[in-house]
C-alpha cells in the first residue's frame, strides 16, 4: 500500500520536482484503468509477432528470423502468427483471451526520425512538433472525474502534457543509464582518446561488479504503477516509458532482452492490479517498425509499420487484429506495409475502454490526423 506520504518520501531528487499536489487521493467516477507503455526506439513488430509459413521472412531476414536458440521456438498464438518466446507471459494471456495484437500499424509519419515519430505518437498529430499537447491529455476532459493520470517517470512525457491536470512520480532510485545509452556513449567516445580509455575502464569495472536490477528497473516501475492504480481512490491512468528498442546491431540477443522485460512489465501490472486487472486495458505502442531485411550488423534499421500490444481483462483477446499485408509487397521496398492507422487503434481502444462515442474521441482527441476508430478491440 502506497499512501501519499510514502510517495513523497520515496520520490526522487528529480522526480519530486515534477510531483504534482494533485496526486492526493480523491474519488474517481470510473473503475476502468488504462496503462500506456511507450516503446521508444522502434520495436521490431515483425520479430515480436511473426507470420507463420511465409517463406519470404526467412529469405529476407536470414538468421534474424529465428529467436536465440536457448529461448526455444516461436510460440504459435493463432493459425497465422507466432509470438517471440521472450513474450511467453503475453502469449499465455493471449490464449486466455486477455491479450490481443494489432499488426501492421503505423502513425501518419512516413519518415524515419525517432524524435519526430515519437512526437507524433504522443501528440496524435500529423506533423512533428505541430501540436503542443499529448493526445492522452486531450482525452481527459471526456472522461468521468478521477485523480490526475500519473507518469511513472521523472518528468511528464509529451503524451500527458497539456491543459488537464496530470502528475508524475519516480522512485528515489532512478534507473542507471540504460544499456542503449551506454552503447551510444561508447561510440561517441571512439575518437576521443581520453574519454575512450576512461569509458572502457568504467565499463570493465561495471561488468565485474555485475549488473544492477534495483527498484528503478522497468519491471519494478510497472509494479509501482499497478500499486497506484489498484487503490480504489487512486489514479485511473498511468504512463510508462520503456526504451532500448533501437536494435541496429546484435538484434537477436538485445531484442529478446527487451521483449522479456516488456513481458515482465505486463506480468507485474497484472499481479499488482489484482482484481482490478479485469477493469484494465494496457496499450503498448512504438513510434515505427523496422526494416524487414537484416542489415550488415545483424540488426535492422528504421522502418514503418509495427505491432501494437493490448492486454488486460477488458481486451477482446485472443485475436490478431488488422489487415495483414504479407511480405510480398513492402513499403518503399524495405518496410512492413502499414495497413492500419495507429490513431484508429488508439481511438477505438480508449473509446471502448471508457464507453465513449468513438466518433467523439476521433473529433476531440485525434482531430489533426483523424481515422475511423477501430471497432472490436475491447469487450462490450
Amino acid at each position: 500500500m502506497i499512501d501519499r506520504r510514502s510517495l513523497l518520501a520515496r520520490s526522487a531528487l528529480i522526480g519530486s520536482l515534477a510531483l504534482h499536489p494533485g496526486l492526493a487521493l480523491a474519488a474517481a467516477a470510473t473503475n476502468r484503468r488504462l496503462v500506456f507503455i511507450i516503446l521508444r526506439g522502434a520495436m521490431d513488430g515483425l520479430a515480436a509477432f511473426s507470420p507463420l509459413g511465409d517463406s519470404r521472412l526467412g529469405a529476407l531476414r536470414g538468421a534474424l528470423a529465428r529467436p536465440p536458440e536457448q529461448l526455444g521456438d516461436m510460440l504459435p498464438i493463432t493459425a497465422d502468427f507466432a509470438a517471440h518466446p521472450a513474450l511467453a507471459g503475453f502469449a499465455g494471456l493471449f490464449k486466455a483471451g486477455e491479450a490481443a495484437v494489432v499488426h501492421a500499424v503505423a502513425s501518419p509519419y512516413r519518415e524515419r526520425s525517432h524524435f519526430d515519430a515519437q512526437n507524433i505518437l504522443e501528440t496524435g498529430g500529423n506533423a512533428a512538433y505541430a501540436i503542443k499537447d499529448g493526445w492522452l491529455n486531450r482525452l481527459l476532459p471526456l472522461l468521468p472525474p478521477a485523480p490526475p493520470p500519473v507518469a511513472i517517470s521523472a518528468a511528464l512525457p509529451i503524451l500527458l502534457q497539456g491543459a488537464a491536470a496530470t502528475t508524475s512520480f519516480a522512485p528515489s532510485r532512478l534507473p542507471d543509464a540504460s544499456a542503449s545509452l551506454k552503447a551510444r556513449v561508447a561510440a561517441l567516445y571512439e575518437h576521443d582518446p581520453l574519454l575512450h580509455r576512461l569509458w572502457g575502464e568504467a565499463m570493465a569495472t561495471e561488468m565485474m561488479a555485475g549488473s544492477d536490477n534495483g527498484p528503478g528497473n522497468p519491471v519494478a516501475l510497472a509494479g509501482t504503477a499497478a500499486r497506484l492504480l489498484a487503490q480504489p481512490a487512486g489514479p485511473r491512468i498511468a504512463v510508462l516509458d520503456h526504451g532500448g528498442w533501437d536494435t541496429h546491431a546484435g538484434q537477436p540477443v538485445r531484442l529478446a532482452a527487451q521483449l522479456r522485460q516488456l513481458d515482465g512489465m505486463i506480468a507485474a501490472l497484472k499481479s499488482g492490479l489484482g482484481a482490478v486487472w479485469g477493469e484494465t486495458l494496457v496499450i503498448c505502442a512504438t513510434e515505427f517498425g523496422r526494416t524487414v531485411a537484416a542489415n550488415g550488423t545483424n540488426g535492422t534499421d528504421h522502418g514503418t509499420a509495427s505491432a501494437v500490444l493490448l492486454a488486460g481483462g477488458r481486451v477482446a483477446g485472443g485475436r490478431v487484429h488488422g489487415d495483414w499485408p504479407g511480405l510480398a509487397r513492402l513499403f518503399e521496398d524495405r518496410d512492413l506495409m502499414p495497413t492500419t492507422s495507429l490513431n484508429a487503434v488508439l481511438a477505438g481502444a480508449v473509446a471502448g475502454q471508457f464507453g465513449l462515442d468513438p466518433d467523439l474521441v476521433v473529433r476531440r482527441v485525434f482531430a489533426a490526423a483523424p481515422a475511423p476508430a477501430m471497432p472490436g478491440l475491447i469487450r462490450a
Partner: protein, 479 residues
C-alpha cells in the same frame, strides 16, 4: 568561427549557454560589461540567515552539546547537571536530530541560492569568478563550526569584492567568521598579550596560546604560494593576527563585547611588538599591524604570479603558458592589485580563445552548464542538487581542505566519475520534457558541436537519450 567565439565566451568564461542565449555581437564586450549588472547582494541571498545567525546557531549547538556531556567539551560552573539514563539519551538523540536537520536545511538553502544565481543571474562570468575566488579562499563544511559557513563566506566576503582590489578581497575573507573558525583564528592569543599574562598569574588550567593555522594558509594558499615563505614569516603573521576574532563566540576573562558573528579586534589578546614578514618589519599597534601585512602581501610579486597562475589555469589550460602568466602578473602589479585589469588582460589574451577545448569541466561546472543547456531555472527541488553533486564527487563548499578543489582534468576525468555523469545526464535529460535535443545542441554549443556528436544525437532512440548524449559529449564535458 564567429559562433564558436560566442560559445567560448559563454562556456569557458560564462557558465554555459541557455536555449534563449543568442549569438553575441561582441563576446569580449559582453564579458567586461556584465559586471555592471552583477548584484553582489541579491534578494535570494539577503533572505538567507547570514554568518552572524550561523554563529549564533553554532554557539547554541556547542552549549547543548556541553550541557549534555557530548563531545568532551568542558562543563562550565553554571551549567546544570547533565541528565542521566534513558531519558537523557532520548533527549540527546532528539537534539542531535534537530541540530542535523537545522544544518541540513541551512546548507540546502545556501546551495539552492548559489545554483539559482548560476542558472539565472545576469552576469555568468562574474558568477564564475565568485566560484573561482570562493575556491581560492576555500573553507570546508566538514567542521561543526563551518558546516553552514560556506555560503555566508562566499555571499558576504567574496561576492562584493570580485572586481575590486585583491587586497580588499583578502581582507574581507580573512576577517570573516567562516575563515576564522575554519582555520582556528578566533581563539588565537599572543603569548605576551595581557590575557596570557593574566592567565599565567592565575595559574589557569588551560593557558591561551598562538594558533598559526590561518597565517600559514594565507601565505601558502591565499597570497605568496608554496615555497615562497618561511616558518619565520608564518610566526610573524600569526603574532600580528592575534586578537582578530569573532564577537559573541569566544568566552575569555578579558575581552570586548561584540555582536555575535561580527569581526572584533581584541586588544587584550594581541601580541605586542614588531614582527617581520617576507623581509619587511612591521611596528604598527594593534589591528593595524595585521592589516598592513595583508596589504603588502597582496601586492607582493609572488602573490601576483600565484594569482596569475591560478586564473590562467582556470581559464586557459591545466598547465598555462608561462608567457601569459607573466603578462597577467605584470598587469596585476602595474595596477596596484586591481582585479578588473587582470580579467581584461585575460579576455584580451589569444590563448584564452583557443580550440580544441582545453579544460575538463569540474562536476559543479558540468552540472550547472547542463541545467543551463536544458533551460532549467531555480526550483524548490533544486536544493537537492547538493545530493547530486555529492554523487558526482564535488560537494559544494566541502573540498575537505583549505586548498580547495584542484583545477585540473587529472582530478576529475576518471572512469567512475564519467559513469556517474552519464547516469546523471540520463536523469537530467528526463527533465527536458521532450524538447528536441537537436535544437538544444545547437543552442548549447553554437559552432562547437562536432559532426560526430550531432549525428549521434540525431540518431538517438528518444529525445531524452539524445539530450543525455549531448550532456556527456566530448565537447560538452569540456570548456
Amino acid at each position: 568561427m564567429g559562433m564558436s567565439i560566442t560559445a567560448i565566451a559563454r562556456n569557458r568564461f560564462g557558465l554555459g549557454s541557455r536555449p534563449d542565449d543568442g549569438a553575441l555581437a561582441d563576446p569580449k564586450a559582453w564579458l567586461t560589461t556584465q559586471f555592471s549588472a552583477f548584484d553582489p547582494r541579491p534578494a535570494i541571498i539577503t533572505a538567507l540567515p547570514d554568518a552572524a545567525a550561523m554563529t549564533v546557531q553554532y554557539r547554541e549547538n556547542l552549549r547543548q552539546l556541553r550541557q549534555l556531556g557530548i563531545g568532551g567539551i568542558p562543563r562550565q560552573p553554571d551549567d546544570p547537571e547533565p541528565p542521566k539514563g534513558a531519558e537523557a539519551q532520548a533527549m540527546a538523540d532528539a537534539q542531535q536530530k534537530a541540530r542535523r536537520e537545522a544544518f541540513r536545511a541551512a546548507y540546502a538553502g545556501q546551495v539552492r541560492a548559489r545554483l539559482a544565481l548560476a542558472l539565472e543571474g545576469p552576469a555568468p562570468f562574474a558568477e564564475r569568478l565568485v566560484h573561482f575566488w570562493s575556491n581560492h579562499f576555500a573553507i570546508s563544511a566538514d567542521k561543526l563550526a563551518t558546516a553552514t559557513m560556506g555560503g555566508p563566506l562566499e555571499f558576504e566576503a567574496i561576492r562584493p569584492n570580485i572586481s575590486g582590489r585583491f587586497a580588499d578581497l583578502l581582507l574581507a575573507v580573512t576577517r570573516h567568521p567562516g575563515m576564522m573558525f575554519y582555520l582556528d583564528q578566533a581563539q588565537s592569543v599572543g603569548p605576551g598579550s595581557l590575557l596570557a599574562e593574566v592567565a599565567r598569574s592565575r595559574n589557569a588550567p588551560r593557558q591561551p596560546g598562538l594558533n598559526e593555522n590561518l597565517a600559514r594558509e594565507i601565505l601558502e594558499l591565499h597570497t605568496l604560494g608554496a615555497g615562497n615563505y618561511s616558518q619565520a614569516d608564518v610566526a610573524g603573521l600569526a603574532r600580528a593576527l592575534t586578537g582578530w576574532s569573532v564577537g559573541g563566540f569566544v568566552q575569555r576573562r578579558i575581552g570586548l563585547e561584540a555582536p555575535p558573528g561580527q569581526f572584533v579586534f581584541q586588544p587584550a589578546w594581541h601580541e605586542p611588538g614588531r614582527v617581520t614578514v617576507a623581509g619587511k618589519s612591521y611596528g604598527q599597534e594593534g589591528e593595524a599591524q595585521g592589516r598592513a601585512i595583508l596589504a603588502d602581501l597582496a601586492l607582493h610579486p609572488h602573490t601576483a604570479r600565484h594569482i596569475a597562475t591560478k586564473l590562467a589555469t582556470h581559464f586557459v589550460a591545466d598547465t598555462p603558458p608561462p608567457a601569459l602568466v607573466e603578462r597577467l602578473a605584470g598587469v596585476y602589479l602595474a595596477n596596484g592589485g586591481a582585479l578588473m585589469p587582470v580579467y581584461q588582460a585575460l579576455i584580451a589574451a589569444p590563448e584564452a580563445w583557443a580550440t580544441p577545448l582545453p579544460k575538463f569541466k569540474t562536476p559543479w561546472e558540468w552540472a550547472v552548464s547542463a541545467m543551463r543547456a536544458l533551460g532549467l531555472k531555480d526550483a524548490a527541488g533544486n536544493a537537492r542538487i547538493a545530493i547530486m553533486l555529492n554523487e558526482l564527487g564535488q560537494p559544494v563548499w566541502r573540498p575537505g581542505s583549505p586548498a580547495g578543489w584542484p583545477d585540473a582534468a587529472s582530478r576529475w576525468a576518471a572512469p567512475d566519475a564519467l559513469l556517474r555523469r552519464v547516469e546523471v545526464a540520463g536523469r537530467l535529460a528526463a527533465l527536458a520534457g521532450g524538447a528536441d535535443p537537436r535544437a538544444l545542441a545547437g543552442s548549447a554549443l553554437p559552432g562547437l558541436l562536432s559532426p560526430a556528436t550531432a549525428s549521434a544525437i540525431a540518431r538517438a532512440e528518444s529525445p531524452a537519450e539524445g539530450t543525455a548524449l549531448l550532456l556527456v559529449s566530448p565537447e560538452f564535458l569540456r570548456r
